[in-house]
């Protein structure tokens, strides 16, 4: 036996040992979005690995758009790179229908699946099969500055109308002092300005499509909604609003530059956090406005955890998502970071917990907003689709973003409301025709 052979054999033996050792350990690749709650979860995984020493976790934390594009490419080509993915209420019904997700109907009794808020659970199910469990859930509502309202002699009702919002924005606006009446999303994207504008349009009685999938951007309701939006933003909004998304507005509000801000309910814990917000003790909350047509301008969204069918470790993955969305995880966060920082909007029991209710002044308004959203019947007039601030069809990401670009161009002053709506109508008609919805 030569030296080389012996060395080779030795190396092989070592490899074999290494393999045997690693065979006991399952590695889960978890794709998440870089939101605060998700990053916090990463920091708390010692609790999980202590309970499951045989499971190792690998994290991929990405910005929302990159995450979506990487995960969708992998899932649709059956690439098998991920074991747990973070997806939203938009993807779950579409992907569930395709058979790309592992159904989660056999969750253990102690998980208490019936505790999940009904609207959220409905949004994550297809034909009564649950395909993802919510990590957190949100609606949208008005956050406003109580001190500025008082100074202006205004009182915010719990359920204001758009007319009141317009009046208040005009009174609060003081551009020279760097305070703008209202901050709203303007950055183009189906999950950015389109999410907000679709809810606003819903409350004005507009809809994306009629029952025959004909685009409705030429309706007077859309025109009224977009005109009011542009008026509000041009007169009482911050400069450069056409590039403001959720995060830009959050920063503005935390710096005390917005009188009102209509956005995700999860923002409430950030704007009331004294470490990051200069206005933490001055924020009030109210339901999203309406126009007297029976629908309010609030959405329903949830970042949920799901298991791709292409995962090679679905059982370990299931153990992980049960842990991350359990009542125990909520208590873990509460013990480590305080009750105000637990992931909101997923479980009924949280909103019956006195400790949480007293630590989170926005809790009641959050649950009321979530319950006011109806993804099955999002609009005043009947529609063939589900989803409040989106249309749950595969084409919506592209279509929504293109339409969002038009509204963003209108906000930047490149187009009038009429031109933007006409382009939106044309883009939607073209897209729906080529996708085969309409002839």
């Amino acid at each position: 036996m030569t030296m080389t052979t012996r060395a080779l054999l030795g190396a092989t033996a070592l490899c074999a040992i290494g393999l045997a050792a690693s065979a006991q350990e399952t590695t889960l690749t978890i794709a998440t979005v870089n939101n605060g709650d998700m990053v916090r979860m990463q920091g708390l995984t010692d609790d999980f690995t202590a309970q499951h020493p045989d499971i190792a976790l690998e994290w991929v934390t990405l910005e929302e758009n990159v995450l979506r594009q990487n995960v969708t490419t992998d899932i649709a080509t059956n690439g098998g790179q991920y074991d747990v993915i973070t997806i939203g209420t938009y993807e779950v019904p579409i992907w569930g229908k395709q058979g790309w997700l592992v159904p989660l109907n056999d969750l253990p009794a102690e998980y208490d699946v019936n505790d999940i808020l009904p609207p959220i659970r409905a949004g994550l199910s297809v034909d009564d099969n649950l395909y993802a469990v919510p990590f957190y859930g949100e609606s949208s509502f008005i956050m406003y500055r109580k001190d500025l309202f008082e100074a202006a002699g205004l009182t915010m009702p719990d359920a204001p109308t758009w007319d009141f919002v317009k009046e208040a924005a005009a009174k609060l606006n003081d551009a020279d002092a760097g305070v703008y009446g209202i901050c709203l999303r303007g950055k183009a994207g189906w999950g950015e300005n389109v999410a907000f504008l679709t809810t606003m349009a819903n409350s004005y009685g507009a809809r994306w499509f009629d029952e025959n999938w004909q685009p409705q951007f030429d309706s007077p309701e859309w025109k009224a909604a977009i005109t009011d939006y542009l008026d509000l933003m041009n007169n009482y909004g911050p400069p450069g609003a056409s590039s403001n998304g959720f995060n830009e507005n959050l920063t503005l509000f935390q710096q005390g530059k917005c009188g009102m801000w209509i956005d995700a309910t999860v923002a409430a814990s950030f704007v009331t956090d004294p470490n990051n917000s200069t206005v933490a003790d001055k924020v009030g909350f109210a339901l999203a406005p309406d126009a007297g047509k029976g629908k309010r301008a609030n959405w329903l969204w949830s970042w949920a955890l799901a298991i791709p069918s292409s995962s090679d470790a679905p059982d370990a993955a299931k153990q992980f998502i049960e842990w991350a969305t359990s009542k125990g995880y909520t208590e873990l966060v509460a013990a480590n970071e305080g009750w105000a920082n637990v992931p909101p909007g997923t479980r009924t029991s949280l909103y019956e917990n006195q400790e949480y209710l007293s630590a989170a002044p926005f809790a009641q308004m959050t649950i009321d907003s979530i319950n006011a959203a109806d993804p099955q019947q999002p609009t005043v007039d009947p529609v063939p689709y589900t989803g409040v601030q989106f249309v749950a069809i595969p084409e919506f990401q592209g279509l929504g973003t293109s339409v969002g670009q038009e509204f963003s161009a209108a906000l930047a002053g490149e187009k009038t409301a009429d031109e933007a709506l006409a382009s939106a109508q044309e883009i939607a008609t073209q897209e729906m025709t080529s996708a085969g919805y309409i002839q």
């Binding site: 939101n35 990463q42 910005e63 690439g79 790179q81």
Partner: protein, 276 residues
């Protein structure tokens, strides 16, 4: 080209040149400074330049969120690997094109360059499917291969233009002396070609380090380099300028420092035949 000028003139030149240089460098400097600020100071108005409470908290936070060194090593391995592999293929090709040109050499070169104009994103799905079939997804080997291939046209072109400047007479003389092909390459050509190869090497390392399409879309964790590292720090919730700056500084520092120290070598061969 040391021309004699008046001290006043030299002073004016100096002031102007430094102004331009600092202006171009300012975004990098600002990022570096911001990375040491507490988040609220990073967006303070008026902006704070030097007199704030310097902190390394941002770096600690970034490192706690994900292990920088995993990404760093992947970047090193992938960019060095693809450069070495690329040079191994490109040097012989460029050598023969420069010294034994055929009638179609020019066209071949131009065609090679034009392959770079294919928009990468149009071929993402086909490449993803190939990588999946070959088991190359999220592997350093796969990424090394793809970066070699996308940079190959540029480095073949760069080496070709450099080799072409080496006077052919020297080779003729060596041949007269009865030098074999191998020794011709080894003893005559190589010493003359080293600056060009060194410069090509550096340029390719820079291009591979900074490539941000394939490295983001074909990796998950195991092979993810610094471009992927940075793509999670862009728009989370709340103030993030300081953390973004820290992550950016970590991602660009290695290549920036390498570039500073090797800039003479980089510049010497970076002519693409622009100098006759």
């Amino acid at each position: 080209m040391a021309r004699a000028v008046t001290p006043q003139r030299k002073l004016l030149n100096t002031v102007l040149a430094w102004a331009v240089a600092l202006l171009l460098f300012f975004p990098i400097l600002w990022t570096f400074l911001t990375s040491f600020k507490p988040e609220p100071i990073a967006v303070a108005s008026p902006p704070q330049f030097l007199f704030f409470d310097w902190t390394v908290k941002n770096y600690v936070d970034v490192q706690n969120q994900r292990n920088y060194f995993d990404y760093f090593w992947n970047s090193v391995i992938i960019s060095l690997g693809s450069t070495i592999l690329g040079l191994a293929v490109a040097v012989p090709a460029a050598w023969s094109m420069a010294f034994v040109p055929g009638s179609k050499t020019r066209d071949l070169l131009m065609w090679m360059l034009s392959t770079k104009m294919m928009p990468a994103v149009g071929v993402l799905v086909p490449i993803y499917l190939i990588f999946k079939t070959l088991g190359l997804l999220d592997s350093r080997i796969g990424l090394t291969l793809i970066l070699t291939l996308i940079n190959l046209p540029i480095i073949v072109w760069m080496l070709y233009t450099y080799f072409k400047e080496i006077p052919g007479e020297i080779l003729e003389a060596a041949r007269m002396d009865g030098a074999s092909l191998m020794s011709e390459i080894l003893y005559v050509l190589t010493p003359m070609a080293v600056p060009g190869i060194a410069s090509t090497f550096l340029l390719n390392v820079i291009m591979a380090w900074n490539e941000a399409f394939w490295t983001i879309n074909l990796t998950v964790t195991d092979a993810a380099p610094l471009t992927k590292f940075i793509s999670g720090f862009s728009s989370p919730q709340g103030l993030f300028y300081a953390k973004l700056s820290a992550a950016s500084t970590m991602a660009i520092a290695p290549i920036l420092i390498m570039g500073w120290f090797s800039q003479r070598q980089l510049v010497r061969g970076l002519t693409f035949g622009a100098v006759k």
